[in-house]
Amino acid sequence: MGTWLLPVSLLWLPLCPQSPAGSAYDALRAGRLDEANSLFRQSLSSGAGTVGLRKDFAYTLLKTGDREEAMEQFEAVMRLDPSDERAALEYAFLCFELKRERDARRTFDRLRQSRNAEVAATASTAFENIDGPLREGIARWKSAIESAPGQWSAHQELAGLAARRDELALAEAHYREALRLKPGKSDLLYELALVLRTAGKEREAIACLLALSRGREPRTAERARALMPERYPYVYEFEDAIRVDPSNEELARELDELLFAMDKKAPPRASAKQMGLRSLEKSYLNDALRYLRIAQEENPDDAEVATKLGLTYNLMRRDDQALVWLDRGRRLGDPEAERAYRNLKASRRRFHLTGWALPVYSSRWSDLFLYGQVKGEWKLWRVRPYLSVRINGDVRGSMPGAFGPLYLSENSVITAAGVGMPRKHGLYFWVEAGQSFSREGSRPDFRGGAALFHRWRLGARSFVESATDGVYLSRYQNDFLVYAQNRAGWRPIGVESGALLEVHLNANLTADTRGDAWANFTEFGPGVKMRWRGLPAGMSLRVDFVRGVYTRNEGNPQRPNFWEFRSGIWYALSR
């Protein structure tokens, strides 16, 4: 290498002492190889490079171990100067090192015929070094298949060796056999596509690639896409691909769409409504929109189509249009549209008024409690300021405790101003300052905290949900309470019908920093939640029966374990 590298360098340097190429040679001589490569690259990209410069670059790349790029440079030299057999030899050796045995074997095979005896001898030896093991390997795997048939991996091994030796028919046969034994193995189909393309069977190759490009494995799909023509596939290509992979739903869907787009009279395999609903289900929103619009034109009074159009627009964040279609859906009598319309409308208002009330009876305390809040909230950019009125109270008032009467609730009305952050990943932060009014008088009230909520769906009717609240309360001597309420439930009647029946299991944990007995317990037990048509929207009834354990018992007037029956009415309004 060094014997010809120097003359080229010497020729180049006096011509362009300030050029990137000149600097590249300076860096090369100083042993700054990365810098030399970078300058060579720069020089060649400006189009100033000669064949000699490219070869010097390739040899420098070899010094830094960048064989792939070196191979590409030698390949470029071969194209620029087909008579340069030394570059061709370098290219072939690098192909071999980089596992591109087929290219290496072909190049050495050509160079075996060279008039240059030295080149021909080197190429002959190298050719045999590649071809011999391939030949032997093919014989070995053929024999393995004969002695232990039915092994898909043996067919794959044999096909791979045959492809590298340009025995394309043999390779194709064994890739097909491997696929028959292991259907759906995408790397086999990909290898088969390459063999078919090399064998000139372009139509069959495209069929395999098209099937892969719409397959389940994103990487193989992406590789296949890169080998396909830029244009959109033809109908017959889709049909070929479906024959290759009949289970590929995406191919069938796209073919339907293509047929439909080409000729609307030609009936698609499914109706526009079905296609639209299917597309929406799979989150192909543009397709869903197109099909649902067609379906809506076909039947303007179909409430479900109008609702799904609204939901599609909502998912595409085009809420103005979403509201129009949801409004149409609800006017056509779809309760899902009614709910979605209300929710969307409410979520878009700058000012939001919510109220909730929870009267609940507890057997543990033999008392009826009432909790409630009315809250007016402004939606600003990143914060949500609000005004709130809370009510906390109970009928019984107090019970005897170890250190005097134990009050069962605050029995007060609390007015406050606060600020919250928009809910993100189920997490909500808030803080407020206010004044509490009760029979004992009024006093300042500061509170704040975080709430984390998440619900996991387990199939169509089952779910698990977890709600954790951490609350700081100034009025309880600066206490910090945590409530973790978890439910696993099943809904034989879902809320979409307007009624609800839910059976669930509770697993709750309550704790605080002060260690008060009433605030430190766990409980576990079943419950039922229900509503029926005719109840005001936002109202539901809930009954729970739990077994609990106090985790702190100092000063606890109760027994360490308890049973509790709770029943309450939840009512929430939003305007």
Binding site: M1, G31, L33, Y59, L62, K63, T64, G65, D66, R67, E68, E97, G137, R140, S143, A144, S147, A148, Q151, S153, A154, E217, P218, R219, T220, A221, E222, R223, K424, H425, L427, A450, L452, T468, G470, F480, V482, A484, L509, A511, D512, T513
Partner: protein, 595 residues
């Protein structure tokens, strides 16, 4: 109250989480950069592009495919922005960087993904391109090296890159040098000398029952056989029957000659068990079925090995006997290396063994049984290098903590446990890169280094070129405890390096171990502060666990260290470097420029 509060804190940390897990394993601190996402740094054009795969300027050849395609807005970025990553077909910008008031800004159109590695594997390189450097490094990694991939590479270039990438030792594929060859031997001698000059140790790595390509060609009668009767040429390995007495004699002589011919620092006995990962289910790959091995199996199990493959009861006996045979072979060859070490006492020994605790199917598939072998490795003073099997290469970095947990109780020398990370194209359907690269590689290295005293990488050629620049930072186990004014307190349980320009004093004493850019940290906690003194000679690099170093007079250093192989001290005086080999062990040595 601990549980709920910690739960809340964990939830709060979620938003920065993906960026943290993407950048911290590469040694970056999020405080070094301002991070922007989506609209925070760009203007939405209203166009959308479906992103399936991306191209990163740091390695345009790297195939980066997202497991979940995503519709992403097309953004217009500030004029000064340099775009580093784009959607493959449309060219829409996805990752960019620029400087604002001197501080680097890193922008991405979307989050890097929950685990930090789903979308932009080369994100840490973007920070590097913006001029940000991690402050801590380690240089205690091992890497496997096969010269057939580097036939014309410059040894000097490689050695410098390895050392800067955090390599302490390379394990050279010994089968390429099994038979003497003057030209190739000269090349290896030059490589070893160059490595030693750069403070890199060199181990011979053998992969029995593969011996060498020539050995396979010359001894067809000693070749291993598969259960279907073929010669066992499986993947790249050409397996020999080491139960054949003549073969064993020849291999013993060859091993002694190989160790004698070169100035090795250690020997690694790797993967000495049987094939394959498909186990008995694939007879075309199941070994050992050469006549001697088959007879050995028959004697140990009491069943006919061929018939045993198809009878579940007999198969159990056969697999147990096969594991026995593998353990005996490993003991025999480790014993042979101990014998060789009598003549060359500085040699460190390593036993590379596939994990069969985390993936317990390995015993039946390969005959590998780590628990049986560990005590023997301990007695031989060998490091036990655990290789995680191909079946779990797609699992996340957390597996290394679990592997460490399972092996620690098996050994009295946890300091000699090591883990081997296979950086190769995985057969599983993995994303975003087929081979571990960038963020994923750094996460693996960081987690492995935090759980094992030694991390080895298979292999140096498969690591992407750009990843070398951050590998040493990923391997760092040292942590900055505090920074107050110009005083930095560092905790370095295994030593390491810290970026520090100029003179440094450690615990009030001028510290001679520095090359002017990086200070070598002693084991334990140290307090660093700037100083003015200029020493005439310093310790520019050191391969070994540095415990203390003192400048005795102008030309001498007293170094306290421990090292399983020979340690290497690189002295620097007036800009000239000189490497000195030091004895293995727990030692205190005085070295001078003229020694």
């Amino acid at each position: 109250m601990r549980f709920p509060v910690s739960l809340l804190l964990a939830s709060v940390a979620l938003s920065a989480g993906p960026w943290r897990v993407a950048l911290e394993p590469a040694g970056y601190d999020l405080g070094q950069v301002r991070i922007l996402e989506g609209l925070e740094g760009g203007r939405d054009t209203g166009e959308r592009v479906l992103v399936r795969s991306v191209v990163d300027t740091h390695d345009e050849r790297l195939e980066i495919v997202w497991e979940k395609a995503m519709e992403v807005p097309v953004y217009v970025l500030p004029e000064q922005a340099r775009v580093f990553c784009r959607e493959r077909r449309s060219g829409a910008p996805l990752v960019a960087g620029w400087h604002e008031s001197g501080k680097p800004v890193l922008w991405a159109a979307v989050s890097p993904g929950r685990d930090g590695r789903e979308r932009f594997p080369l994100l840490p390189h973007t920070l590097r391109s913006l001029g940000v450097r991690p402050s801590l490094e380690a240089r205690d990694l091992w890497a496997f090296f096969d010269s057939s991939y580097r036939l014309r590479a410059d040894p000097e270039y490689l050695a410098v890159r390895w050392r800067q990438g955090g390599i302490a030792a390379i394990h050279v594929a010994g089968w390429q040098y099994w038979e003497p060859n003057p030209e190739r031997d000269r090349w290896l001698q030059r490589l070893i000398e160059t490595c030693h000059r750069q403070a890199v140790q060199v181990y011979a790595w053998v992969e029995f029952p593969h011996v060498s390509g020539k050995f396979w060609e010359e001894h067809p009668g000693w070749r291993e056989k598969t259960a279907s009767g073929q010669d066992a040429h499986l993947d790249w390995r050409q397996l020999m029957d080491l139960t054949h007495p003549e073969c064993e004699r020849e291999v013993t002589a060859g091993l002694r000659a190989l160790v004698d011919r070169f100035d090795w620092d250690g020997v690694n006995l790797g993967e000495l068990y049987f094939e394959s990962l498909e186990g008995a289910a694939n007879p075309a790959r199941f070994t050992p079925f050469a006549p001697h091995a088959k007879e050995e199996l028959r004697k140990r199990s009491g069943v006919d090995p061929v018939a045993g493959l198809t009878d579940p009861k007999q198969l159990r006996k056969l697999l147990d006997a096969r594991a026995d045979l593998a353990a005996d072979l490993q003991r025999k060859w480790l014993g042979e290396l101990q014998w060789i070490r009598r003549a060359t006492p500085h040699l460190d020994l390593v036993l590379t063994h596939i994990d069969d605790r985390f993936d317990s199917t390995m015993r039946d598939k390969l005959g590998a049984d780590a628990a049986r072998l560990l005590p023997f490795a301990e007695r031989a003073g060998a490091a036990f290098l655990i290789e995680d099997p191909a079946t779990v290469w797609h699992l996340g970095p957390e597996r290394y903590a679990e592997i460490a947990r399972r092996y620690s109780p098996l050994t009295k020398r946890p300091d000699r446990l090591a883990i081997d990370l296979n950086i190769v194209e995985r057969y599983q359907d993995v994303y975003p890169t087929k081979q571990q690269a960038g963020v994923e590689l750094f996460q693996l290295v960081r987690t492995a280094a935090n759980n094992f005293p030694r991390v080895a990488l298979y292999f140096e050629n498969s690591i992407l070129k750009q990843d070398w620049s951050l590998l040493a930072a990923a391997a760092a186990t040292a942590r900055v405890v505090s920074r107050e004014d110009s005083v930095v307190t560092v905790d370095a349980p295994r030593g390491g390096l810290i970026r520090w320009e100029g003179c440094a004093a450690i615990d009030g004493r001028v510290w001679p171990a520095s090359d002017g850019q990086l200070v070598l940290l002693p084991v334990g906690q140290s307090k660093l502060e700037p100083c003015e003194t200029r020493l005439s000679m310093g310790l520019a690099d050191f391969n070994g666990m540095l415990k203390d170093v003192r400048s005795l007079d102008g030309d001498k250093l007293e170094i306290r260290y421990s090292s399983a192989a020979r340690a290497i001290a690189v002295l620097m005086k007036d800009g000239v470097r000189r490497a000195v080999m030091l004895p293995a062990g727990d030692r205190k040595e005085v070295v001078g420029w003229r020694d």
